[in-house]
């Protein structure tokens, strides 16, 4: 659907050259929700703008539905842009137009007949749940409502692709959830491929199928959200993952645990199916061992369970070793080190 081939973008600032995007190769499949995550200044916003040529690549190419978009004439490029909806962090609604006027705008550009426009606008506003706000002006709306208008406007010309530039970064957590659910609905019900960029890992966790992590203009890790969360490779990726799942308590608490004579702690990671079986309980019972869950979480990732628990065992040392050996066959388990510092 979208294919970056060693795409690069270099800006010239005076005599200085800034490489915003460095030879990125990525392939976004039809129907998926693909997230690009990175800290601010990582180049993700520039990368996103290569998709609809708001920025031109200075090297490499970007293909959309098999066409190298750099080869398109201005006229064909404008046609292509109608098939790529875009939403923004600051919504970018027209203040001089009503909600309905904003949603109608791309249809007017496309020369759609008036009657069709009003029908389509009504349908879109119903889809995003803002039918009663058609005649309001943007300044009368809340942030979440504004983004809904942004989404309705981006969907007006029935695009195949929706690109989202930090679409939830200006919203509060509740509203973020609301907008993410709406994006999921856009993907599921309308079959629209979504490419989004964000600096918030929970956005990736909530709706993405696959993720790419960007740092200093380059993609440093790509994979399914589940694999990336359960087994992050790059230190930056690990930092992002830790931002949403506290996988270990603070060192103070750990030291306190040890000072009180607490047992060794083990990290147990469950993935998918195993999370539904009573593995811990059945294996420890078999060897007459007690287990104690000290810390951790079990969450949903891409509609699969993902558990990350800190566990201690009580009982004979040898039996504990046997328990660990047996657990290793079905789940990941490792001892947690307590740093002295």
């Amino acid at each position: 659907m979208i294919e970056f081939k060693q795409a690069a973008k270099t800006f010239r600032l005076g005599n200085r050259e800034v490489q915003a995007v460095k030879e990125v190769s990525l392939s976004i499949a039809q129907g998926e929700i693909f997230g690009i995550i990175g800290f601010s200044g990582a180049g993700k916003s520039t990368l996103l703008r290569l998709v609809n040529m708001l920025e031109q690549p200075t090297a490499g190419s970007v293909q959309v539905q098999g066409v190298d978009i750099a080869t398109l004439s201005q006229k064909d490029l404008r046609k292509l842009r109608r098939r790529i909806g875009m939403i923004f962090q600051n919504f970018n609604l027209f203040t001089s137009r009503t909600v309905a006027g904003n949603v109608a705008y791309p249809l007017k550009l496309a020369g759609t007949p008036k009657r069709e426009i009003s029908e389509r606008v009504e349908e879109l506003l119903r889809f995003v749940g803002l039918s009663d706000k058609a005649n309001d002006y943007p300044e009368q709306l809340s942030g979440g409502q504004k983004q809904r208008v942004g989404i309705a406007r981006a969907l007006a010309t029935s695009p195949d692709i929706l690109i989202c530039d930090e679409a939830t970064s200006a919203l509060d957590p509740d509203t973020t959830g609301e907008i993410l659910r709406l994006l999921k609905k856009v993907n599921k019900e309308l079959g629209i491929t979504i490419l989004l960029i964000t600096h918030e890992m929970h956005v990736i966790q909530a709706i993405c199928d696959r993720v790419a992590v960007m740092e200093e203009g380059a993609v440093i890790e790509t994979g399914s959200v589940f694999d990336t969360f359960s087994n992050p490779q790059h230190p930056t990726t690990q930092r992002f993952i830790q931002s949403v799942q506290q996988d270990r308590p603070s060192n103070t608490l750990l030291k306190e645990w040890r000072a009180k004579g607490g047992q060794k702690l083990y990290r147990v990671i469950f993935k998918g199916e195993v999370a539904s079986d009573p593995i811990l309980s059945s294996i420890t019972q078999k060897f007459g061992i007690h287990f104690n869950i000290v810390y951790g979480s079990i969450r949903e990732l891409q509609e699969k369970f993902f558990g990350n628990l800190l566990v201690s065992f009580e009982g004979e040392v040898q039996a504990i070793e046997l328990v660990i050996a047996e657990l290793k066959r079905t789940v990941e388990i490792e001892e947690v080190e307590i740093h002295e510092s």
């Binding site: 201005q74 875009m86 600051n90 001089s96 550009l109 300044e139 010309t157």
Partner: protein, 220 residues
């Protein structure tokens, strides 16, 4: 020598009409010219939809040359051009020409400033929806800037009332001419007072109209 008020009032009415004609005609021509130059200035600016450094610099320098010249000097300085185009340097239309030129450069700057205050994200959004530069100008830039633009034009209108009085002193007719010939040269304070009151009323009306219109468009 006292003024004969019976013959004087019709002159006042006629002069007021001339002043209003000068202001409105200048406002119309000056707006057309000024908005065009202002838009051109904005879209040719670095990084904008029709970036053109050369054209931008030429316009920018031209505006900076014309704007600081005091109007009364500008009026005299371009009189050869006025004669070439209007055919005379005396009368209402001969005043409208230099007023239009001077006003359009001022309006161009106001338009440019109003356009610069539009969130660039809105322009980017229109671009992303497949709008051409021409469509961006007429369906995004102008509507988005309209409210402040009307306030800007109101400001210009009031300067134009001032300009018209100056044009009057060098043969342009209007209230300025009456005030100068009767009030200044004949030392008749009452005539001066009447013209000043009429000018104040005109200014008040223009400001009221501008405020009302812009409030309607900006919804505040």
């Amino acid at each position: 020598m006292r003024v004969d008020w019976n013959t004087f009032w019709p002159r006042i009415v006629e002069s007021t009409g001339e002043t209003i004609l000068m202001v409105i005609a200048t406002l119309i021509f000056g707006s057309i010219l000024g908005i065009s130059i202002g838009l051109l200035l904005y879209v040719t600016r670095k990084g904008n939809i029709l970036e053109n450094q050369l054209l931008f610099q030429i316009l920018n320098i031209l505006i900076n040359i014309v704007r600081p010249i005091p109007f009364i000097i500008f009026l005299v300085a371009i009189s050869p051009l006025t004669r070439a185009i209007i055919g005379t340097t005396i009368g209402t239309w001969a005043a409208i020409f230099p007023m239009t030129i001077a006003a359009s450069f001022g309006i161009a700057r106001i338009v440019e400033n109003n356009l610069l205050s539009i969130d660039p994200g809105v322009v980017e959004a229109a671009k992303a929806m497949g709008a051409s530069p021409f469509q961006i100008i007429f369906t995004v830039l102008i509507p988005e800037a309209l409210g402040p633009l009307i306030l800007g034009l109101t400001f210009v209108t009031i300067s134009l009332i001032d300009f018209s009085a100056m044009a009057g002193t060098v043969g342009g007719g209007g209230l300025g001419h009456v005030a100068m010939t009767y009030g200044y040269q004949r030392f008749d304070g009452s005539v001066m007072l009447v013209t000043v009151v009429i000018l104040i009323i005109l200014v008040q009306f223009a400001q009221w109209l501008g405020n009302t219109l812009s409030r309607k468009i900006m919804r505040r």
